[in-house]
Amino acid sequence: MHRNLGLAVVAVLAAAVLLGSTASAARPTARGAQEDPSADVNLTMWWWGEQEAAGAKNWLAQTIKLYEKKHPNISIKTVLQTTDGLIPAFKAAAAAKKGPDIQYFWGGIWSLDDAWLGNTKPVSDYIPRSELRHYLNAKEDTYAGKVWTAPWYVQPSFPVLYRKDVLAKARVKPPTTWAALLKACDALNAKGITPIAGGIKDGWFGGWLYSIIGAQGIGSISDVLDATTGKQKFTDPKHAAWWTRLQEMRDHKCWNDDMNSLELYQGQQRWAQGKAAMTVAAGSDVKKFVQQVGVAKAGVMAMPRWGNGPYAGRLGSTSQTVGITAWTKYPQESADFIRFMHTPERMAAWFNTTGAFPADDRFNTKLIKLPQQKILFNLVKNGAPYLENFIPTELDSKANFAESQLLLGGSIDAKEAASATEKIAQRIRLTQRKQMANFKIWAQSYK
């Protein structure tokens, strides 16, 4: 009896200890009931973006105020998410089928992953095609003929910012080729100047580097989708070459020595403080940085060119999006608010407040006055697909984030990084069979 009782207590205690990490894995299936849409409508929007488009919070508050004035029965509550919390928070909400009505998504796989999991409704079911065709970069959020999330603002991904005053100290010109970049790193180091400031502790920068360096070696987006599904390999030269470029940057001490200690935004601040000659920033953030250091001192360009592929020397272009959740009781109202975000007056206000380009071809480009933004706009007009949006997020995190940390920290070399990436991809092909099937279908639309 005592023995059985003891075992029962043991089991109960162990269950209590593990509740936090275990209960989460199950998928409840409760769904909200349809309600009368003419009644009071309370919408919740989980979003992100203030981090890369300063002023977005004010703009959103103002937009909601105007919208609520126009629609007195609708009220919208917003929750600004952290960078690290944006995805897990939504996944948890999706598991409970309870949470926001409108959710922020980065483009491509970040949007489609949740579409495939049934967590979102296609926006093209609620926003007319005649309206959607104006939204920029919607192709990357399109699957099976439907647009799943609606582009909000364009993210030029990702320009190199340089400080003319700091480069001048070492008599270095802004490098436009890879060889010139490595030479610039040597020259700047000789003067005791950090060539490029970055932070990779939180991993995100690994995905950026993969995209802006890796894109130059591939022939098309379907190469990336094929490597994901196993038709090609991440150890193939065109996919693996970027690791070699990254190792070259490491070997030429192009980065700040504490890169592994700093988060993405902390690294960029080093540049703003004049402690580095260059950095890589979100295009939506260019205005903020330029104003911080002074218009005369800042320059903007694409990542120096090393490859001969169609995307070499071009800036990536993606759009940050908003989607309608599968469990919302008010999909049409949510869609209507998204359309309101694209009205000319709101787009102009968005650009004036944040300096980020609205993802809409009806945006009045005459509003662009800052020289650096004009350069950026011209770069993004001829933009290339943004690579990170076309690989599984798990691969991005486990390979690009993690292996970049190890390579830049000096623990592994380019060959090991490429080999690790392929091994991780192989495992994902095994464990994420549904996702791989979707990738194969998605790849067809890029052939």
Binding site: G6, A14, A16, S21, D113, G203, A402, S411
Partner: protein, 302 residues
């Protein structure tokens, strides 16, 4: 003479005795609550771990076990167990020093316990800043001519887990000290006086008297901390590595693996299989605790 004795001698009470099942009756309300709260979760967890695309299978366990990241995470949890004896020894030493009336012991007790009441995210952020490659710790080392030992404490795979272990020890130490000190203060002073009169000095006194007196709480502390290292270090890792378990997978632990797999990579089946395995390990640790407690006759009631 106790009220219990009176009750047992009361014939009306004697009729209420239910023999071997009586203990179960007494704990039934609490058990019902626990089963109600955890039962469904556990059932779903095990069920999910045995399902894939609508079929029953044990593949999820095989796939999880074959994942190098999962094995790395498990290895790191085991490596973190090294902190347990360190915690016990340090807690023991410091609590004895405080018990012995170390000058300013009230302040020291407060200072040592303070980390334990600090929120883990606060600790994570503060140490994350302090331990940067150009952070305060390294700045100090360089200033005193010890720049050679300055490291990227959390940014280098070689150091990251050990650094995190040190932070965990720093915080968890306070719990051990307060636990041991509370027990020491409840031991009648004449026990120690008798020892001293018999000629026992510091080392002998505490080896022969203090440690045996503390054995119950030491066992308790060891088990609690072992469980912490196996299944409660998520907060530390998440905050100090921005949810990555990096650099690379240098600080990956099982809980973070479960969290990432379930919520970032959308593989609830694999996450559940990993959680069931972690549950098994925790179950073993708790069973060991009860076994040791029973066989040694030590317990918290001492």
């Amino acid at each position: 003479m106790t009220s219990g004795t009176v009750a047992l001698s009361d014939p009306r009470r004697r009729r209420l005795r239910l023999g071997r099942v009586e203990p179960l009756v007494w704990i039934a309300p609490a058990l019902a609550v626990v089963v109600f709260v955890f039962g469904y979760s556990m059932f779903q967890l095990v069920r999910t771990s045995l399902r894939f695309e609508g079929h029953w299978t044990t593949d999820n366990f095989r796939i999880t076990w074959s994942d190098p990241t999962f094995r790395t995470a498990l290895t790191h949890n085991i490596r973190l167990l090294i902190a347990v004896p360190v915690l016990v020894l340090l807690s023991l030493l410091l609590s004895i020093l405080l018990f012995e009336g170390l000058r300013g012991w009230r302040f020291h007790r407060w200072a040592l316990f303070l980390p334990y009441v600090l929120a883990i995210p606060v600790i994570g952020v503060v140490f994350g800043q302090l331990l940067q490659f150009n952070g305060l710790v390294n700045q100090f080392l360089r200033a005193v001519g010890l720049g050679g030992i300055a490291q990227d404490w959390l940014g280098q795979p070689r150091w990251a887990l050990w650094t995190m272990t040190a932070v965990i020890v720093w915080r968890e130490l306070g719990f051990g000290i307060v636990l041991f000190l509370a027990r020491l203060l409840s031991v009648p002073s004449d026990v120690f006086e008798a020892g001293r009169m018999d000629g026992a000095r510091f080392f002998r006194l505490h080896r022969r008297i203090t440690i045996p007196q503390l054995s119950g709480v030491i066992v308790f502390y060891v088990i609690v901390e072992a469980i912490t290292m196996v299944s409660w270090v998520f907060n530390y890792v998440y905050v100090m590595t921005n949810g990555q378990g990096g650099p690379g997978d240098a600080t990956q632990v099982t809980e973070l693996y479960i969290y990432q797999t379930a919520f970032q990579y959308q593989s609830p089946e694999i996450a559940s299989a990993a959680a069931v395995m972690l549950f098994g390990v925790t179950l073993v640790l708790i069973a060991i605790f009860f076994r040791v407690q029973r066989s040694s006759g030590v317990g918290l009631d001492e």
